[in-house]
């Protein structure tokens, strides 16, 4: 239950969620463990066997671009291999996650032993000044997992609906009207909300339901920036990055993808995160009363050492024909861990959150905060932890105590 007597909650008026693409926690933030041991990152000794059986250790050699081509497989069967190391339920009905199949999985795509090792590379903190700074200056989640051990669209569905309606793939063509999106709920309850895609040429990944049927919910990233500068930010904003390198349709030049999906340049995503943060941070009428959550939709096939935990079953079953494995999936365990950072001047520096979260926590949090009692939600969303309670400092941090970024 959210403690509404907290000063940060009493001041809160806006929640902004930015969902990036396809990077694991250890890949982006694992290096922070050396300096901040309370962050559950990498010791440098974690290893996976490669296709020859030789152990390969993690390496701080991640590059911004060019290293993860081809795009590492992150569909359900590949993630099953990554988590369970290739042990099937036929071999061991009681198999447990060992996180030892990442190199084998990447090898399957190109059959290059040397290239397969790159899936264990991670960034040093210095190479990611924005994400690393935000993670250590505000709150970082040690256990925020993707909702499904699978690809983007079914995971993003959890952020919008608290469920993927039984889907474990990219084919989320139909939805069960039993559960409304968080945006539909908020509008019905008289609250303001928008999904901001980057531009019309990048558009939204939420095509089938919302963009098709409720286009008035959408705006561009420029609209988000304008809303910030005019103090017209909705109560809840969900931001999507630019998913492609393309020409600005208005002739304004090249627009580089900012989603950090391999093999897009990670620096463009860093600048995009900074631009979202700056739009709030540099507006004294927004900064005291806005919470920003930055989360990644799934791990993109890249190594993480934390074993995904069991979770409340979602009430759906994906059959083997859908999972691409010999087994059905009961939505009773989470996907691989992803980076997630919560930002507000009411959060203490170096807060580390150890409770378990997943993307259903997003609609769960917004529903708890803005609507209250609401029963027509998936079992996963009802069981999900909510995160606004971490905005819990008794006083607001001063401007000079909070980081600022300047994009080159």
């Amino acid at each position: 239950m959210l403690d509404r007597t907290l000063p940060g909650i009493q001041n809160l008026k806006h929640v902004v969620v930015l969902m990036m693409e396809n990077r694991s926690f250890d890949h982006m933030l694992g290096a922070l463990h050396t300096k901040y041991p309370q962050i559950d990152g990498l010791t440098g000794h974690e290893a996976n066997p490669d296709s020859t059986g030789e152990p390969v250790t993690v390496s701080p050699d991640a590059e911004y671009q060019g290293q993860l081509d081809p795009d590492p497989d992150h569909h359900f069967p590949a993630v099953d291999l990554q988590i369970f190391g290739g042990v099937t339920t036929a071999q061991n009905p009681n198999r447990a996650p060992n996180m030892e199949g990442f190199v084998k999985s990447y090898y399957n795509q190109q059959h290059s032993v040397a290239h397969s090792h790159k899936i264990l590379n991670y960034f040093t903190a210095e190479k990611l000044p924005v994400l690393s700074t935000l993670a250590t200056e505000f709150a970082v989640f040690n256990r925020w997992f993707s909702s499904i051990p699978g690809p983007t669209l079914c995971n993003r569905a959890f952020a919008h609906y608290g469920t993927s309606f039984g889907q474990v793939s990219m084919d989320v063509f139909y939805w069960n009207k039993q559960y409304k999106s968080i945006y539909e709920r908020l509008v019905a309850a008289g609250h303001s909300t928008r999904l901001y895609y980057f531009d019309q040429a990048s558009s939204s990944l939420e095509v089938i339901n919302l963009l098709q049927n409720q286009p008035s919910l959408f705006g561009t990233f420029q609209d988000f920036l304008d809303a910030c500068s005019r103090n017209k930010l909705p109560e809840y904003s969900f931001i999507e990055p630019n998913y492609t390198d393309h020409e600005d349709p208005n002739g304004g030049g090249e627009l580089i993808a900012s989603d950090q999906h391999p093999d897009h340049d990670v620096r463009a995503g860093e600048q995009f995160i900074a631009s979202v943060y700056n739009a709030i941070r540099n507006n004294p009428k927004l900064w005291p009363n806005t919470a920003i959550l930055i989360a990644y939709d799934e791990h993109g096939g890249i190594y993480d050492h934390v074993k995904p935990p069991a979770c409340t079953p979602d009430g759906f079953v994906a059959q083997p024909s859908a999972t691409g494995t010999p087994d059905p999936f009961h939505f009773d365990r989470l996907g691989i861990r992803v980076p997630a950072v919560l930002i507000s001047p009411w959060i203490a520096r170096r807060t580390v959150i150890n409770e378990t979260f997943e993307h259903a926590s997003i609609p769960a949090t917004l529903t708890e905060y803005l609507i209250g009692e609401y029963s027509e939600r998936s079992p996963r969303e009802i069981a999900a932890n909510t995160f606004l309670g971490y905005i819990n400092r008794p006083t607001m941090r001063s401007d000079s105590d909070c980081p600022a970024f300047k994009n080159d």
Binding site: Y64, S203, L211, T220, Q222, T244, D245, A268, E270, Q271
Partner: protein, 135 residues
């Protein structure tokens, strides 16, 4: 606390001729799913080029998004020449048409009653921080 510098990607990081990822293929697949249920005249207004590169995809996605928002797509979109590598999402059409011309003509010719005002963006400009100068 001094502002922390955030380095920009180098020029060569931008590659609009990059073959589209599974993610963009899926986004297109979803848009095609919607497109096939549109009236034929609206479908005729959409670009028909093979969707191989990221810029190919962006042109189609912009048109479909504009259509879904019931507003004209970008007036200056031009089909960019692209290196044809990778697998198109849909079967290549034999038609090569000017996207800008086709969309403008069709949308201008529409006589359907205006729908209620959309709150989505009125312009396609991107923030300066994410825009790169044309060389």
């Amino acid at each position: 606390m001094d502002a922390i510098r955030v380095p920009a990607p180098p020029r060569q990081a931008f590659n609009m001729h990059r073959p589209i990822s599974d993610l963009i293929k899926s986004q297109i697949k979803h848009l095609k799913h919607v497109e096939y249920r549109l009236p034929q005249d609206l479908r005729d207004s959409l670009p028909k080029h093979p969707l191989v590169t990221e810029n190919d995809a962006a042109i189609y996605i912009a048109a479909m998004t504009g259509l879904l928002l019931n507003r004209p797509a970008a007036p200056k979109l031009i089909k960019m020449p692209a290196k044809k590598v990778g697998t198109p999402v849909s079967a290549p059409s034999t038609r090569t048409l000017s996207f800008a011309a086709s969309v403008e003509k069709k949308t201008a010719a529409k006589s359907s009653p205006p729908r209620k005002k959309k709150t989505a963006s009125k312009k396609l400009t991107a923030p300066a921080s994410t825009r790169r100068k044309k060389s």
